[in-house]
Symmetry: C2
Subunit: 338 residues, 2 copies
Amino acid sequence: MSADIIPLHDRRSDPSLDPMLALTAQGMNAVNSVILGRMQSEIPLIPALAGHLISGGGKRLRPMLTLAGAELVGYQGSRHHKLAAAVEFIHTATLLHDDVVDGSEMRRGKAAANIIFGNPATVLVGDFLFSRSFELMTEDGSLKVLKILSGASAIIAEGEVDQLTAQRRIETSEQRYLGIIRAKTAALFAAAARIAAVVAECDEEKEQALDEYGRNLGVAFQLVDDAIDYDSDAAAMGKDRGDDFREGKMTLPVILAYARGSEEERAFWRDAIIGHRTSDADLDHACALIARHDALSDTRDRARHFAQRAVDALAIFPDGKARQAMVEAARFAVARGY
Amino acid sequence: MSADIIPLHDRRSDPSLDPMLALTAQGMNAVNSVILGRMQSEIPLIPALAGHLISGGGKRLRPMLTLAGAELVGYQGSRHHKLAAAVEFIHTATLLHDDVVDGSEMRRGKAAANIIFGNPATVLVGDFLFSRSFELMTEDGSLKVLKILSGASAIIAEGEVDQLTAQRRIETSEQRYLGIIRAKTAALFAAAARIAAVVAECDEEKEQALDEYGRNLGVAFQLVDDAIDYDSDAAAMGKDRGDDFREGKMTLPVILAYARGSEEERAFWRDAIIGHRTSDADLDHACALIARHDALSDTRDRARHFAQRAVDALAIFPDGKARQAMVEAARFAVARGY
């Protein structure tokens, strides 16, 4: 099979998620109906809390990857709808637990579930959705899919614990940071894309290619998320700018600015990351230091590198609507918030 | 197959878990080595936190049920070791999340994980163990076991949310309370016992019988746990007496004492359950009211009823060491803390 070279940069249009949305619109209706059906319970607090997050927007990018992957490999069945819902349930459970872990106040532009419903209910409804996701996979019956997604879940949890361990530790290296985001974010992107090849019974090469597309896209996505948290010009993300800063999270913009900083600047970062500088003026100063050392644009450059690798992984697939939408999604991932 | 009548009361000896421990000792070595091997991670905080709870004692009753069930049906293989470890991981994940939900200070006689490691790490390591349990099941490869245990996990989470909803609500009925403990405790006991019949490829009748044994034993076990929390004579449980009282949990001793109380007593309970009476003197008064209305001994009577049903479910199996140990375990469940 000949491999195309697909350019990430395309000056003809602004990057957009629209082709991906159009490609998966019909399938996403089916996925959404699984999601809504399976978040139900006789315990009213469960759909109330889960629905607060699930109906609160969110791009549902991960299930969309499963659907787009299925289009790409020409899958004709409907098994992927249930599995895409399982992927979104794992993601939702993770978000609910993250909000408890971080003490978040906002999520997707509204009050976070833990603020409205409290930490206890938020933890337990996360557990419920996580269990439901395994019920959905078990109903589908593919042990290969179960292996991929249970493995990804364990890796996500490890990545979250690793991030917690690195929190407020200024000495965190870029390599460690990349390891954390590969685990906490990219593993589920990879699994979401890969299972499309599994249900379509593709060969190992295609499975691997979809895995690489998802994994690299996930890293790019997280890098841009982390950049936006320090980008005063960025479009509203539905979370407060500076969350990572105030939580002492070591993300790439900080790692780069610290590495390139003067001794005085480094002293500021050390203070800030352990939580001694949390005012709006401190955040403005942090953003200024990050800008001075090109740490935001370099973070975006790194993201572009991973997005290009995601796109490269698609070269073995024939050109067409699905591949074009997935390339465009990678361009969009990098351009977000500009 | 003729069904025996097996008496729960046996005056020849004090009830003991020893026969169960002896029956499963060798198998539990294998289970423990799976548990220790699979709680490892490159992220050091994970084995540290998980090990704090896992090596901190605990009877490992649930995996023991899987092993005893396997003995009962004459299973000769070793698949049940991994699955029993998966059951214990689900239980451990639940305990970790419970401690966060309840703000527990003690667990198994030592400081709870959330006190030592904080809520964030405790939530995330629970997620990790939960994921690992599904990895273990997937490795085993039985979709039937996966269905049983993913279903049980969802029911446990529903039961926990239901309990949270009933907390500090004096009007909680005995029926609702029984529904809660069936879900949060008995579902995993039932699943743990049932999967022994699944790996041994028993017929549906035996599977169902083991399920009923586990389910009724689980209800009996939880009822006695709830009684012990108000029993000043009870042996130390490794948690503080009065935890349920201070957390405003509606358990059967309280439900019975409230139903049978005078108007003045009911006013006390209403105050106590919403959290306005939390002193040691209040707890002593609560215990006195419970004693006055025989609510502790009646709770234990209910437990005896469920333990007898557990034992009755074993009647279809041939008499022998395994059945005797399981009958004795049911007697022990009821007699604990006397």
